[in-house]
Symmetry: D2
Amino acid sequence: MNKLEENLVKWRRDFHHYPETGFLEMRTASIVAGILDGLGFELQMGKEVMSAEHCMGKPGEKETKAHVEWAKEHGANPDYLAIFSEGYTGIVATLDTGKRGPTVAYRVDMDALPIYESTSESHVPLQKGFRSINDKMHACGHDAHTAIGLGLASLLAANKAELQGKFKLIFQPAEEGTRGAKSMVEAGVVADVDYFIASHIGTGVPHNHVVAANNGFLATSKLDVSFRGVASHAGGDPEEGKNALLAAANAALNLTAITRHSKGATRINVGEMHAGSGRNIIPDKAALKVETRGETSEINEFVKQQAESIISGAAAMYQISYDMDFVGEGKSCTCSKEVAAVLHECTESAGLTAILESDDSAGSEDATFFIDAVQKQGGFGTYCVFGTDLAAGHHNEKFDINEETLLPAVEILFASAKKLGGKG
Amino acid sequence: MNKLEENLVKWRRDFHHYPETGFLEMRTASIVAGILDGLGFELQMGKEVMSAEHCMGKPGEKETKAHVEWAKEHGANPDYLAIFSEGYTGIVATLDTGKRGPTVAYRVDMDALPIYESTSESHVPLQKGFRSINDKMHACGHDAHTAIGLGLASLLAANKAELQGKFKLIFQPAEEGTRGAKSMVEAGVVADVDYFIASHIGTGVPHNHVVAANNGFLATSKLDVSFRGVASHAGGDPEEGKNALLAAANAALNLTAITRHSKGATRINVGEMHAGSGRNIIPDKAALKVETRGETSEINEFVKQQAESIISGAAAMYQISYDMDFVGEGKSCTCSKEVAAVLHECTESAGLTAILESDDSAGSEDATFFIDAVQKQGGFGTYCVFGTDLAAGHHNEKFDINEETLLPAVEILFASAKKLGGKG
Amino acid sequence: MNKLEENLVKWRRDFHHYPETGFLEMRTASIVAGILDGLGFELQMGKEVMSAEHCMGKPGEKETKAHVEWAKEHGANPDYLAIFSEGYTGIVATLDTGKRGPTVAYRVDMDALPIYESTSESHVPLQKGFRSINDKMHACGHDAHTAIGLGLASLLAANKAELQGKFKLIFQPAEEGTRGAKSMVEAGVVADVDYFIASHIGTGVPHNHVVAANNGFLATSKLDVSFRGVASHAGGDPEEGKNALLAAANAALNLTAITRHSKGATRINVGEMHAGSGRNIIPDKAALKVETRGETSEINEFVKQQAESIISGAAAMYQISYDMDFVGEGKSCTCSKEVAAVLHECTESAGLTAILESDDSAGSEDATFFIDAVQKQGGFGTYCVFGTDLAAGHHNEKFDINEETLLPAVEILFASAKKLGGKG
Amino acid sequence: MNKLEENLVKWRRDFHHYPETGFLEMRTASIVAGILDGLGFELQMGKEVMSAEHCMGKPGEKETKAHVEWAKEHGANPDYLAIFSEGYTGIVATLDTGKRGPTVAYRVDMDALPIYESTSESHVPLQKGFRSINDKMHACGHDAHTAIGLGLASLLAANKAELQGKFKLIFQPAEEGTRGAKSMVEAGVVADVDYFIASHIGTGVPHNHVVAANNGFLATSKLDVSFRGVASHAGGDPEEGKNALLAAANAALNLTAITRHSKGATRINVGEMHAGSGRNIIPDKAALKVETRGETSEINEFVKQQAESIISGAAAMYQISYDMDFVGEGKSCTCSKEVAAVLHECTESAGLTAILESDDSAGSEDATFFIDAVQKQGGFGTYCVFGTDLAAGHHNEKFDINEETLLPAVEILFASAKKLGGKG
């Protein structure tokens, strides 16, 4: 195992051991910043690279403050922690070769999930001592993504002399729930980017296989709805109440009944409902967690508009008020053939199995915000997948990867950097 | 059998044989008008005694016109038919004794029901040859009421010399569905009335028993709701439709779920729903027939207001429009002890069993509009019941009465006229 | 215009003038039978070619009997009318060349729609005097299909000498609502068929274009649901009722809320709901017209099973009973390349624009039952479309075709018969 | 202030300071037991006087065990705590005079509510230093009831010589939620009782007024419903899920839509709903807290049966399973005139305003189980109310009483004991 491979495994296990959920990746970001700084990258961080107004579903001040303490106690790099202490944990690291050439960007996501990691003796992270120390878990592979991003940074820095153009590594918070990308796009971090690559590990693609263009993401919106009625005693004066539970129950039913769309697939889910404060009280409060999806952004927009009418009408039926917050958003996208072709070539050169395009997804991703922005300004973007062996599916408590995937992923991305930087 | 009794039976059977539903009582009214005219009453008729704007649930022009022909062919009095040919079939007949005294009014309802009368051989109207000749039926006893009204008129006219004050006989259309009374009240027919008596036959009270004050009517509103969405092909472009059927289904469910009221009984019923125009079409039309009831007019008003929010919110959920028409209305009321006492006394004098007050009803009546108006101007009103033997319950296809109830009813009402006219 | 073309137009206009809906195509079938008989085809008709038990949504005896009279009065061929007088209006006409070769079948549908045809002066059938004489309408082109079928029969008969194998022309009732095909398949009419072709005119394909394999039909089920509760007076004793309207409203809402399927498109529509018998009666009856669709038969089966649970659960909620009748069914299918290739070749030879395959449909068809049966026994089937100019979309009151499509359609089908009969 | 009055206030404030909710009244019961024991009462406690199987809504083992520790740390009487440590906190204290006479029982409830007591400076318990030390609160007056029970015990013991018959003081747990009485009735604690009196303080009756017979309690049932479906990813394979949230939403809506009853008032409330475990997961769990009420036990039974059908049908619609637990129950009752008359007389003798009967309640009480049982065995029971000044309504965080009500309440109850014990 060479030094780079050792580092990749070391980094990945460290991030796995100390998982942090969206907008709280303070320890992770501080360590990433320290390493990138040491490699000679120019850093922009925190609110410089994130529009506060476009952060969705960001935890409150209390939770954020408490996490600063946690990060401090668990090995955050003290030189950078303060920068991320308000929960704006994004980093853009730039390496300018000084030589003429395009700007090439790579997106890396860093957040973990609120899942309690398996304590089964067969679970490798437990056996090898890097199981999560808290009740969060890297059950989607973003620990590996962050390590791959740092590996790519190492190679770019070490080989700067032979590269052309400019390279930007985008370390993004809060991909889970599709909450973080939009704020970085709105802050302009890809405004100068010509080529853009986001990557993911796993997703059912076999080890040593690489998909150069993963299309098929569904556009999505996540919304939190809260209804506010009036409480009253259910026996003594029920007519004084305004029933928020019934408004929410109607909303849930009718949201699910939103019509199919002839132009493509849709999804709608009311994943949670919590209402009422006691058996004998007319319920004055109700909350729903909702998500919509559509095969295209237009179809998702259609579903969203139906949803708004239903929620507003359900509140009106019961003479109550409501709030609706958008706490996540993802677009549909079609990857650019121009950049996918380069990745495909690099994969073949590396001796791995190359798949040009796949359409096989019913999930959502907010890297699509970056791709869409780059394409709109005339650039090219793709979303690629590095296949690996999975111990269990994504978001499962026994999720684990084959660490032998890390090095080839870094090498293929680095090869793409060389090729893309040399364009134009 | 004296002449009066013979007439009562003849009249009742004639009306029973030729039943007419609300706002179509043209034959009935024309015959009533002819008789009253002959007795020397001063007549006001049609729009003179009915506010067109306050008629609720009146049949359309086409049906009304067609019925004129029917009435013509079935024995309507041609001297009066034209007056009632637009469906304003109310009559107020006044007998002024010229002597000082109060104004005393009696309400008589004339309409039949859209029920197909029994063809069973045991059904007395069939045996005696006066079963309905069409598909309507006097299944509530208004044929008897009309006959009693004419009987009372006969006695008043014959005994004018010994009476004091002024007497008004109000022949009202469309009591069924509580649709006709309001229009007569709004036309001012009881504006000068000091004492008011409405009466009903049957309702579970035994033969030869008379209830002087029948309280307990529920206030009620009848509303017709129609939703208008947009049709589209359910397979080809479902997203182009706006679903009126689902809006109506939501309205029906949530109307029924309107909260109970701690201050008294309520009712809510969605009695009919008709929606859609084909299996493979997103339904663009839906109609509901709704009624609300409340132990008091205030409680009914509460239910009505909830209903309006629900209907409006259900339409908003599906981005569609709606119309809501009030097609019937009844109030709750408390009978005046002053006039009930007189009836009670007259009943006892007649040797029948007198019951001062009963509270036993979950039905509705629009005579309550008259009582309420009279009471509000300082007068007194009551709703009395003449018990009889019933062959089957009201609104049943085998409904029939004991005709021996007719004469005592007339005599007691006439006795009350003598007493009340002599007051003040 | 040659004689065949004249006949095609004459036949089409005659059928258009006298439209008959599903299982009532008595006049049409009697005329078709007469012509085919004259051409020397061997005929099987009525229950011989239709399984009574698998007819779906067949009109009742009364309506069927009444239509016999209508057909008699409107030019039915008296020699054949009796055969079709119970509504089994299918015909299979066979021409055996006596020469070795496969059995080749063509499906033709004959039924019209319950649509009132346009009376606009710009409507060509009105101008030329063949607008519908009743309140039905050939608004989908089955009049043209029947004419094309007769045209094909003429050419087959006239050119028998140069043909090989055996030819079956299947004249099917009740394609609308996907109600008739299954009964003919179940009667075994394609049990000996090697090649099968169904065809349709229009569907958005341009004039002089022919689609050889029209895939993309959604599998479908049509179901009629009736709920039976208990009526009671909504004011007097609401607790005695069992509310069928509310059960149906719940079913309608929850049917529409059946989950999306990740494997392909679905549809669900409650197209009609009729419930209740009076405003002040707890509704004891309710009926729904429902249809489900799925991109594959398996997906449609999934939706159907969810639907059954919902309907049964909704009835249970209100302690009432229900009936569920399947009144139509269609499969999804994939056309056989083997036979599509032949049609494609014949189209090109005829100098028209040939399209091998189209996937563009969200409708349903019961010809899929024939194709599925033929494929399952090792044969080959396809569904082709002859493009034409449409005055308005299918099922629109102004629908009309370009009659110049008739002749080429017949010629291409005849060419395919020559080629397919020569196989093997 | 005499010694008894001082004790009443001291006891009441102590219980107020250390509130304990239903089936956790361990500190309270241990102190009560110690005092009663000291007064010479014969004690039966815990499972001796409570049927475990009929305890409804009893907290789980973990919570119960934790509370033992709390009680230990907060002044529970260590001599009795062990008896109540499993949460069977009922006590029956008997004083047998040895003299011939009937058995007379008094019911006292001891539990507090899960309400956070006001911290307003105007709140008297705060000012005087006996505000609750935890997050529970005596916001219904059971602290006063317990004190009154002890006061009555003091007088009975002190005056044993002049009394006749046998006296039972029943200290009941968990009256809130109507959960505890049934288990004591089933354990037979009133099987020998001839006269029974339950009492309550406040409820809107003015200070120095006493209602001898408080009728009008609604019969009630409390039920917890949990639905169990199947989770799946809402984007990736929604069709694999079985949606418990939608089943619960349907149940909530249709429960609320249960028909009114013509024989008397009803109530139905779905007070809480909690469903689902994440926005993008088809919800596999849902829970409802429901209560029904009826003017009579029969009417409540009707509502309960409708509720069961609805819950079972809603689960069936979504092919899921459910559990339904009855966690509370109360009966309607009519107080016995025989015992009410005695209380009325005692009130008048005490110089307070006596009200024989009141009907003014829409609440529920499980003392009705005792009254019903006593009446069924030929005895007499009543529920009386001692009026007081309330700082805020029952169950309000600012609830407080006028402590001057305590002494007269004790004296009137003691007077009734003298009179009733002397009967027969």
